[in-house]
Symmetry: none
């Protein structure tokens, strides 16, 4: 997307757009000639909607590229996922609801165990219990260093996220995690001169952390890796003139949507139905809703074909609730494929269905990979969907005379 070009064409309209993302939606058949997870699922509501929609595929980052959730979401949100790289440290921080600014540095951390000589004996500190990690994180947050704020947030077991905030920080730092045991944890080395000051802060922090944790039984040191800033992205409000909301249960998806200026709505409960209830509750207050469902991906990654099918059927049962709200435009797709037989994210284009009153409908009464192959959207780069959604919502003016 050429932001500057598109931004000039954006016009207001009283219309609502829904982007329903089934994480890891795309799949593969279990046996030659068989059906994918989506094709196996009984989805009467999506099939009926397909007949009145345009079908095709979303390609997150081009042929052959299997994306993680970060780039997969940046892409379907309209941004080039290769130009806008999002580091793991930043993603972890997004995942724990730390409100990252564009100049903040994030890193991934491990609580670890060193012996009396400072040699690393357990990179994961015996996968210490999460409550224990939360206690240690609180300890670390008592550290004070002039000129920088350091904040850690426990994630799960030994893992935590670190955020640094201050003037003129740079993320070009080496990891302190040696990724193997039997050696001492490293120091942060500046990889550019502009990162030298940041490296000094990190190393002072490591010293103080070591002192603070030295009498701890299970975890007496920390390791840091993946120092990164967040990509600086235009915000939906400014770029598209959209009041945009995100409905998601898992932290990282909330974080990525916040990154593009969406307001994260509270979901009461963790069931799929609860997310649709949130959609109904806030319907009048926003122009754009991103609704994320994680379980399709979870079961894909677990290799559980049948449970992925069941989740898709479950989501299908909620579709009438969305249609009852009369969205002007509805996109149903995923951020990437996660075929159960691969037990992982994959590079396969993701089935996509675009519904709206000015969509040129394909009259194909089925939502599935083979049906989408016959659809009129073809294989679209994921980042090109947003302009199409906006146009269908009457929000893009004509270009040129």
């Amino acid at each position: 997307m050429n932001y500057e070009f598109l931004k000039k064409l954006i016009q207001p309209a009283d219309t609502r757009i829904v982007m329903l993302i089934m994480d890891g939606l795309g799949g593969l058949p279990r046996e030659p000639g068989g059906r994918t997870e989506l094709e196996t699922a009984r989805t009467p509501n999506m099939d009926a909607l397909a007949a009145r929609s345009a079908l095709g595929f979303s390609s997150p980052a081009g042929p052959g590229i299997a994306v993680g959730s970060g780039p997969g979401h940046l892409a379907i949100f309209g941004f080039d996922p290769i130009e806008n790289e999002i580091g793991r440290g930043a993603l972890e921080a997004l995942g724990v609801d730390i409100d990252l600014g564009p100049d903040d540095i994030a890193a991934r951390g491990n609580f670890c165990k060193v012996d009396e000589n400072g040699i690393l004996v357990d990179r994961r500190a015996g996968r210490l219990a999460t409550p224990e990690a939360i206690r240690l994180a609180r300890l670390l947050n008592s550290i004070h260093i002039d000129g920088v704020q350091m904040h850690v947030e426990a994630i799960k077991e030994h893992r935590f996220a670190l955020v640094m905030r201050g003037e003129g920080l740079a993320a070009d730092l080496s990891d302190t995690d040696p990724l193997k045991e039997g050696v001492a944890p490293g120091q942060a080395a500046a990889l550019t001169t502009s990162a030298e000051r940041t490296a000094r802060f990190v190393n002072v922090y490591l010293q103080k952390a070591k002192k603070l944790l030295k009498d701890e039984e299970q975890a007496n040191m920390i390791l840091l890796r993946g120092f990164d800033k967040l990509p600086s992205l235009p915000k939906y409000g400014d770029l598209f003139k959209l009041r945009a909301a995100a409905i998601a249960v898992n932290g990282m998806y909330k974080g990525v949507s916040r990154l593009v200026g969406m307001q994260v709505l509270p979901v009461e409960g963790v069931r799929i139905e609860d997310e649709f209830t949130t959609l109904e509750k806030y319907w009048e207050q926003f122009d754009f809703f991103y609704l994320h469902i994680k379980q399709t991906d979870t079961h894909g990654e677990d290799g559980d074909f049948d449970r992925k099918v069941k989740v898709i059927e479950h989501i299908d049962s909620q579709i009438p609730r969305v249609l009852a709200l009369k969205p002007d435009v509805l996109l149903i797709t995923g951020d990437h494929s996660s075929p159960a037989i691969l037990k992982s994210h994959s590079w396969h284009p993701v089935p996509a269905m675009l519904y709206g009153k000015n969509v040129r409908e394909d009259n194909i009464p089925e939502f599935g990979e083979r049906a989408c192959t016959r659809g009129s959207l073809g294989i679209m780069p994921a980042k090109d969907f947003m302009p199409l959604l906006l146009a269908n919502a009457g929000r893009v003016a004509k270009y040129g005379a």
Copy 2:
């Protein structure tokens, strides 16, 4: 299109290419499950041709972008319509057959009415009659300013086009049209230092125009807006080694084709048949013919589904005349979609049909949106069609050994 790359591969051939553009061809059904304008039209000739052609879509400027006629034509002529922006002033000038050079500046003008204090009381001078505007334009063309030629051409009613020609002119000027009444018309302000000299010329011109028109009853001043140069484009003769001709009735289409080096052929009459007669008459003298039919768009923009259908049927009746000439390559498509139900240009990809003896035919015996979805061309950027037409005409050499 990568001009430099393609240009090196161009080879001569004794072949003829026809590009038939039905303006605003693409459409939408009137009701869910219904047929578009093109699908509704009885088009036995195009359907028979479709069976021997490759089908697909042309996408003028990417997903979600509805283009005007200017960018729509630049795209199907082979140029990126976003990189090669064409301003409204330049388009108006093209529309009245002013022969614009690459360094000329064009602007849109209004004849207007000011009161005795110089305050604008009617931006359109009561939509004065065109013959009266022609008379006033002739008056304005008597103005002489050292160092620049200023020429105006009446368009219709109060509207005219202004062209400035001279050394070192720049188009970064503010409008003089305040776009509202009750204030005095503005002066042209230079938006960059390189435009300061041009701004002075414009302001001297405005003073002289005011003096010349001061005793006129209906229109005693002028307003200018949309100062622009034409995009500088390679010419078909140089780029493709084509003797290229344009057949169009409306001025703007003649202008845009001139911009890429086509020779505009005279059409005797304004009926659709007359354009095809011109094609027959000049058949031996050119390698490439662009034939433009406006009425499909006119009825689309008027919201007249049935008349758009009738025009398509009418054009279909002329297809045998084209085929009788035995073109080596024939492309039938539009510059954009104009669905009657939207009464405007739209972003929907435009049905396209490519015929030629080396085209891999799709064996789909129908030309329509749903038929094109099953075609082998897929959704092609409009700017990519020219290389394909040239290759099918034997005019592109092999790349590499």
